[in-house]
């Protein structure tokens, strides 16, 4: 049972998702399965029915509503209307570039930080890993709230600037732009990359590093030729998870309070709650579901394929 070594990550979404599909055949069919065939399948029925009632049925209604314009009947009218609007196109563009940018940032930052925690150990490294766990259990919007105090119009950075230079206002005014959202997303989602990376690094045989190093390889070369290939599955899994989460992030954008930054989830919210335009909200929701379920499916396939 070599799998026993990876118990450390039982409690978190990323690791749970990663390890779910990774061990086919671990639960051997109990003796006498054939005799109890029908009852075993029947046991799965109640939770599936509950899920269908509270989740699948509502989703189906959203899809149905997206084909039902306010004028009545069933038509593609809501889709053509929404796709023609600039608000939707801009939201789609903003969502995608923010998600891709934040994912790239998280991967770079997460890889560097995990590298140090795993391979240049220092006293307190365990505490850092614990801190990351705690960090993951806080909601995302707290980061935006904190950034308001750090880079806000009267926050820390601008306060220092005006104190030092005597200027009337500071230069940090990016919080209500997409860059503020990007910074908050990178901050919040980097730990989601670090978790699977640290798990992967802990399984790496350090003798390989010692051998490479004793043969004269410089640290940069060891990272490139030994560690990076080992880390690729974890990077792929963590990166695609973060990509999906960034696409769906709502709290950070809402707290930024920027009129100029509209992402797809934000558009769903404003169409449904602020404008009460349910068909349009449902159309945006269907597009959002298609993108994120598609990517999530890809993430599951990738993480299963590489066995991360």
């Amino acid at each position: 049972m070599s799998r026993r070594g990876s118990t450390a990550l039982a409690g978190d979404p990323a690791a749970g998702a990663v390890s779910t599909g990774s061990a086919p055949g671990a639960a051997d069919p109990p003796i006498g399965t054939a005799r109890r065939q029908l009852p075993t399948a029947a046991w799965a029925l109640p939770p599936v029915l509950i899920l269908a009632a509270v989740f699948l049925y509502p989703l189906a209604l959203v899809v149905q509503q997206s084909f039902s314009p306010d004028s009545g009947g069933t038509s593609l009218q809501p889709y053509t209307d929404v796709f023609a609007s600039t608000a939707f196109r801009e939201a789609l563009g903003t969502t995608v570039w923010l998600a891709v940018g934040a994912t790239a940032g998280c991967l770079v930052l997460g890889f560097l930080l995990a590298l140090v925690v795993a391979f240049v150990p220092f006293p307190g490294g365990k505490a850092v890993a614990k801190f990351i766990d705690v960090f993951l259990s806080f909601p995302s919007f707290l980061i935006t709230l904190a950034l308001l105090f750090v880079y806000g119009t009267v926050g820390m950075a601008n306060g220092v600037w005006t104190d030092v230079t005597g200027a009337h206002s500071g230069p940090f005014q990016f919080l209500t732009t997409p860059w503020g959202v990007l910074l908050a997303e990178i901050t919040y989602f980097t730990p989601f990359v670090m978790r699977p990376l640290l798990a992967a690094f802990s399984q790496l045989d350090t003798a390989q590093l010692e051998v490479a190093s004793s043969l004269g390889a410089r640290p940069a070369r060891i990272v490139r030729r030994v560690i990076l290939p080992e880390a690729l599955p974890a990077l792929a899994a963590g990166g695609s998870l973060v990509l999906v989460m960034c696409l769906n992030e709502f709290g950070i954008v809402l707290f930024t309070g920027a009129k100029g930054v509209t992402t797809l989830p934000m558009l769903v919210y404003s169409k449904a709650i602020l404008e009460s335009d349910y068909p349009a909200a449902c159309v945006v929701a269907v597009v959002n579901i298609a993108i994120s379920v598609g990517l999530y499916g890809l993430y599951r396939v990738v993480s299963r394929r590489v066995g991360a």
Binding site: R4, A10, G11, P13, G16, A17, T20, G21, A23, A26, A27, P30, I31, T40, A44, P47, L51, V54, F55, L59, L61, V62, L109, L113, F119, V120, P121, S137, F138, P139, F141, L142, L145, A146, F149, V150, V154, M156, G159, V160, D163, T187, T190, L209, V244, F250, L254, F255, G257, P265, Y269, A272, Y278, A285, N288, I289, V293, Y296, G297, R300
Partner: protein
């Protein structure tokens, strides 16, 4: 050990903390610092006060705290029951069936939570089940959202379970239900409590779906924080945020104590 020279190690650590502290530790510290301040226009907050905590633990905010606690507790328990049941049932299925259950029960993670909120709103604002305007619509949405995480952690734990125990029990003549109750569930208890803690923390911080659904008399903490900061009372918002973080941490700590005690058995 990747870097062998002493100087190189110190340089690496310096770079590490120069990245780590501002990016991860600073935001949390800043919120705590701001919750005690009346003013922040320089490098450091000024005007020490505990007054914001007075506002954060009375009236609307206190009600929001109890609302959040009740919602998170109910949603976690419901999600854990359904999720663990589904995971246990899925583990007994053949490979195809297990894949199907896996895909089905992780779907709520893949669907954006705002959309889950919208879907629940659309579905339960009309007969046959009319929940809009009640607290149950919020609890229902939270349950759906955290159920996937409960399912994932429990099914990951089942995969790691040594099948020898249940096979031994079964070979001694124990019926499947007895094996489940006396062997599987006790062995899974640590993961179940861990999953419960995770569900609770997620539900405490849930904002997206809640924003779509909350009735005026059932305002959870994240919505309350948004309402306060949106009004411009950033410092009170920070104090309420500290209350939220503290409560979440306390519950997680309590849950991890249960876990260590259970794993001694």
């Amino acid at each position: 050990m990747l870097v062998h020279s002493r100087g190189g190690r110190w340089a690496t650590w310096t770079v590490f903390f120069a990245l780590f502290l501002p990016v991860f530790a600073l935001p949390l510290l800043v919120i705590v610092a701001a919750s005690f301040a009346t003013n922040w226009s320089g490098a450091f907050p000024s005007g020490f006060t505990t007054g914001h905590y007075g506002a954060a633990t009375t009236g609307d905010s206190l009600q929001a705290l109890t609302t959040s606690l009740v919602t998170a507790l109910t949603a976690s328990v419901l999600a854990l029951i359904v999720g663990a049941w589904a995971a246990l049932a899925a583990a007994a299925l053949k490979k195809g069936g297990r894949r199907f259950m896996d895909a089905l029960f992780v779907l709520p993670v893949a669907v954006p939570s705002v959309v889950v909120g919208l879907a629940v709103l659309v579905a339960f604002s009309k007969p046959p089940v009319l929940l809009n305007g009640t607290r149950w619509i919020v609890i229902l949405a939270h349950t759906v959202l955290v159920m996937a995480f409960a399912y994932q952690s429990v099914s990951a734990a089942i995969l790691r379970l040594d099948p020898m125990y249940e096979q031994a029990a079964a070979s001694l003549g124990a019926r499947p239900l007895l094996v489940l109750w006396r062997v599987k569930l006790p062995l899974l208890l640590p993961s179940l409590t861990a999953a419960a803690g995770l569900c609770f923390a997620l539900s405490m911080g849930e904002l997206s779906a809640t924003m779509m659904l909350y009735p005026p008399d059932w305002t959870p903490l994240p919505v309350q924080i948004f309402a306060i900061t949106d009004r411009g009372s950033l410092f009170t918002g920070a104090a309420v945020a500290v209350v939220l973080m503290g409560t979440t941490l306390l519950v997680l700590l309590g849950v991890s104590r249960i876990r260590t005690r259970a794993s001694f058995r």
